[in-house]
Amino acid sequence: MNLKEVAKRAETGPLMEASNFVMKRVAANVPRLQKEYNIRWDGQTLLNLDDDLADRCWAAGKDLLLKTGVYSMNSRRVIEFAAEEIEDVLRFVPSRVPLGMGKDAVTVHHRKVEDPRPPFIFGGPFNADVHEDMFVKLNEAFAQERIIDCLLFPGYLKELDGLAIRPGSGLSSRAAILYGQWSREAVRRAGRPGMPICGHAVMALNEIACTSEEWGLRATDPRAMVLISELQVDDVTMSRTAYYQAYGCPIYMAFTPLVGGYGGGPDGTAIVAVASFVAAIMLGGEIVHIGPQHIKYKQQTNNHSLFLGSLANQAVARNSHIIGTTSHTTAGRPGSDQYAYEFSALALAAVTSGSNMTGPRPAEPLGFNDVSPLMARLFAEVGHAATRLTRQQAAAVVEKLYEKYRDKLTFEDAPIGQPFEQLYDLDTLSPTPAHQSLYEEVKEELLRLGVPLS
């Protein structure tokens, strides 16, 4: 199975309406598989501890993908896979992928449940809207955090030259070029010229204009694709994958299963998530990002998403050598302690479940530059600390953290926090004394709660 074959099936597979695909192939099969494999959430557990449940979820997810295939949204055809094709791709999917170049080269690897090796940290603006005047400074501030392994999604340039950017326009091509130039400039300024940059400039084909070995994103930089929920792909994603794959870039493929959507509750959606992990590698993904969405909440730190992420990650970590990473979005915003408590809870659950780490970012940023490099450092530190915990130990801390924020998960109730320019001295690119104090206070509290931070 390769992209040539996938592209062929996107033109020749069974023809159907999208609504039929999601209702008859996805929604109709999930409850049957839930019953067949006995995949149930007890309504309480935040971090799964049941290995057998994880293994059944893996089997159910693969079974689901066999029954659904992946829907090509533009051709309205289903890309179907045979069981032996899935097993073949699973056998050959890489368990280690080198990223970046020179002295800044790093390797992202598959992790096992309770793996003692540190998780790989994808950290950066994570597609928050970033103002053009702040783009280089903000990314430099992330890149100077040595604990971050790969600069993540350097930010959406929503406006340029005082104009809003329309996807696919000439202006957006110019934005993509500047995105490449400015991201590279940021890592150079931080003294890490070969630091990998995980790129995702705009959701349009012309974002490939950010690519240049000389001044932009390189063949050693992973490029992000996003599947559409559930189990759907569009031509732009296929085309970008084809281009970047041919160029030699590692393919970072994300998917966003929706709790309360076509997969049902967190247990049914965990099956969809496993199917999506496998679908991502069938479509050429080499690093697979899970970013659960929720019908009621926008963040990924609610009880449903914590459980679903832990179960799906464990299913994948125990039964394959797919390189997985978990998205961390929160209700609280940078500059608030809740931001840290939320991403810490999710990081503990994800890392002990065998995942690498992507994030953090508020799910609903308030305007431009609503991220903090210092908080990304803490996020990574918590991830590293999690390798010294068992799932059982981590689960106890996750519960305590969840209690701290569970009543403040809505947009209205979550703390507003502050954007980057209010949290940092922009001349020295160092945190303000108040932001530094917050970091230290939260770290103290995390230690008290049982996170073994060094």
Binding site: M23, D234, G263
Partner: protein
């Protein structure tokens, strides 16, 4: 002959069981029994689907249930509407809505939920799908004699097209003719205000409340 109460119970259970054929059959039975179609919609279908909408909001049922219930209601209402049309009448709805995800954006689920919830709450919804060209929203609103244009955008780069629809409405002298509601992950009340939309809904429940408020006021 079956009593009205028994027929309404059948109509109700057809929605609860997501059964399109049963909904159409129960609607036909209501007509054969001489029941008023408008009353039959309210007494047979509407209560059941409103309750399912509330159950969806409490996460007791999920999106497939809501979509199937809305489809069952659509099948049943179509039978009753046909009877009404035959006597030169129309089924009064709370309002007509054209709905879609804006150009360049292929995210489907958010607007599907909004559409199902609006249908469940008595609106006639015309779902234009995803990646809907700016001009198509206006054309569809005119064709369907809609009161409301509802636009979803999941990306901060595509929400720009919500602005373009409003600008186009103004350019075509249609400013104020339609109530425009916007939503989607990056969309905020501030954005809605900036582009001149009538309202912003964070989710499907808010969209229903917003439209109920507007169209209720218009009716008064």
């Amino acid at each position: 002959m079956t009593s009205a109460k028994a027929i309404y119970a059948k109509m109700r259970s057809s929605i609860e069981e997501y059964d399109e054929d049963a909904a159409a059959a129960a609607a036909r039975e209501a007509l054969e029994a001489g029941l008023d179609p408008v009353e039959a919609v309210e007494m047979g279908f509407a209560g059941a689907i409103r309750e399912l909408g509330e159950a969806f909001d409490r996460m007791e049922i999920f999106l497939p249930g809501l979509v199937m219930a809305a489809d069952a209601m659509k099948a049943g209402v179509a039978v009753l509407e046909e009877a009404l049309e035959a006597r030169g009448d129309v089924l009064k709805r709370k309002g007509v809505v054209v709905l879609g995800t804006v150009e360049g954006d292929i995210h489907d689920i958010g607007k599907t939920i909004v559409g199902a919830m609006l249908q469940a709450n008595g609106y006639e919804v015309h779902d234009l799908g995803v990646d809907v060209p700016t001009t198509r929203f206006i054309q569809a609103a005119q064709e369907q004699k809609a009161q409301v244009i509802a636009m979803s955008a999941l990306l901060s780069t595509t929400m720009l097209f919500q602005r373009d629809v409003l600008e186009l409405l103004r350019n075509q002298g249609l400013d104020g003719k339609y109530l425009v509601v916007v939503g989607g992950a990056p969309v905020t009340q501030e954005w809605a205000d900036e582009i001149g939309a009538n309202g912003y809904a964070r989710d499907a429940v808010e969209a229903v409340k917003l439209l109920d408020g507007w169209l209720g006021e218009q009716a008064r």
